[in-house]
């Protein structure tokens, strides 16, 4: 017992050596590989891996105009840095831009946009900001005032997705890149399973989406662990600290998000990571290998009759939500409209089907939920 304790102490004082260069002191345990490496080797392997992902997946073509979705958070800050670095180092020949969405959340987005403006100067990338107010006529502050804190994240998510596309169209971008990392994608796989959203489950692990649409999107950090992005962020803030005195990326929680469902998936993923770090990549791998039965009817992609945005319905989700807001019926478009109408119009069929379903239903098998 004493010898084990003595050994532990030795480990702490004479630190382990980097398993890549065998020279410098190891400073990071990579969650992906469990290798113990030094900070210099980490920068190299991190950037090399992103470069390899970009090349192997043909994410870009020379001459493309690429909009980097920039929130001011750590992921997009690191993405802006790494992409401009790699673009220069490997001659991708890309025209890079920062594209930010101003949701109109006082005390949250106005602060984080300041971070993006610093990134603009720091990396010399032109910045375009589009706001919900100019696109939809509503800020998130006004929406929350009208609908409360229950479904506000639905509005924000739907509006942001379109806002990025519209902003990218304004600056004539060929592609949008976002800073979604491996942890984010693993969360999304779980969320889509929990929601039973087959259509999204089948495409949420794609590194590029919307290739048939006007502006495809891709996620160069698809295989990058959040922990490593955090370490990378820390180094960036250190190296630029003297220059910008108070450069820190923006990390406060959205003031409207405490109700967000994603938080539970996020915490669960982090719990899994602690037990077995490879769980994150394993979940992504599982998501990639889902094969949807060919007989499953998938929503057909069309365009919105009102605004022309891609949509599987007559009107896109943003137009439906906006309609509700403008008509003072903010619940419009929230929840499962399809099933409600089916219940109403096909009442008889429901009654016919119900007796058959009674056997294996949750109710009869597990008794009543009220214990």
């Amino acid at each position: 017992m004493e010898t084990i304790q003595a050994l532990e102490k030795v480990k702490r004082t004479t630190a382990r050596v980097c398993s890549l260069c065998n020279q410098r002191k190891a400073a990071l345990k990579r969650p992906k590989t469990l290798e113990q490496i030094c900070i210099e080797c980490f920068y190299n392997v991190f950037e090399d891996e992103i470069h390899r992902v970009i090349i192997e997946n043909n994410l870009f073509k020379p001459g493309e105009r690429v909009a980097i979705g920039a929130s001011g958070g750590k992921d997009s800050t690191v993405l802006a840095y790494v992409l401009s670095e790699l673009n220069r180092r490997h001659n991708y020949g890309l025209d890079l831009f920062l594209l930010s969405v101003d949701e109109g959340i006082t005390g949250y987005r106005d602060d984080s946009l300041e971070t993006v403006k610093r990134n603009e100067l720091q990396y010399g990338l032109p910045l375009k900001i589009v706001s919900y107010k100019e696109l939809y006529g509503w800020t998130m502050d006004e929406i929350v005032k009208a609908i409360g804190l229950k479904n506000n994240c639905t509005f924000c998510g739907v509006f942001r997705r379109q806002a990025l596309d519209r902003g990218a169209a304004l600056i004539q971008a060929d592609k949008i890149v976002t800073g979604h990392n491996a942890d984010d994608i693993a969360e999304t796989v779980l969320l889509n399973i929990l929601r039973g959203d087959i259509a999204r489950l089948s495409r949420c692990t794609d590194i590029t989406t919307g290739e048939n649409g006007p502006i495809p999107r891709c996620k160069p950090f698809k295989y990058a662990y959040e922990k490593e992005i955090e370490v990378k962020t820390k180094s960036l803030t250190l190296s630029t600290y003297a220059y910008f005195k108070k450069l820190d990326y923006f990390s406060t929680e959205c003031i409207y998000s405490p109700n967000a469902y994603r938080g539970f998936a996020r915490e669960f993923i982090k719990d899994l990571e602690r037990i077995r770090p490879s769980a994150i990549l394993d979940i992504i791998r599982s998501g990639e290998n889902f094969r949807i039965s060919t007989t499953t009817r998938m929503p057909e992609q069309g365009t919105c009759q009102r605004c022309g945005y891609i949509s599987s319905q007559k009107l896109c989700k943003a137009c439906v939500l906006l309609d509700g807001l403008n008509r003072g019926l903010p619940k419009l478009g929230i929840g499962r409209k399809k099933e409600c109408t089916r219940e109403n119009s096909n009442n008889q069929e429901q009654i016919k089907r119900n007796p058959e379903n009674k056997g294996p239903s949750l109710h009869s098998k597990h008794g009543n939920i009220e214990f």
Binding site: K29, N181, E226, E230, E267, E273
Partner: protein, 100 residues
């Protein structure tokens, strides 16, 4: 023992003083001549945290998703909770739970 603590990624908002950098003096437990990360976490919980300790601590360790660096070194390489601290060490806690 004089230590420098840094809180980031939103963790600073849980503290009595919502600043990132804290110079602290942590006393050894009676009969002990060393301070481990385990000791430091319970000291932070008892002395610095004002609200929602569950955002920082889970069980006797940090909540998964909180990155810990001791003198810029991943604490997973230093023995995690058993890592022994030394005078003037710098310990960084960054939460990744707020998203990017």
């Amino acid at each position: 023992m004089r230590l420098t603590l840094e809180f980031g990624g939103g963790l600073e908002l849980l503290l009595k003083e919502s600043v990132k950098l804290h110079q602290v003096d942590v006393t050894q437990k009676s009969g002990e001549d060393k301070v481990t990360m385990r000791d430091l976490l319970s000291w932070v919980k008892g002395n610095l945290i004002k609200e929602r300790p569950e955002m920082f601590i889970k069980g006797d360790s940090v909540r998964p998703g909180v990155l810990v660096l001791i003198n810029d070194c991943d604490w997973e390489l230093c023995g995690n909770l058993d890592a022994e601290l030394e005078e003037k060490d710098m310990i960084v806690f960054i939460s990744t739970l707020h998203g990017g």
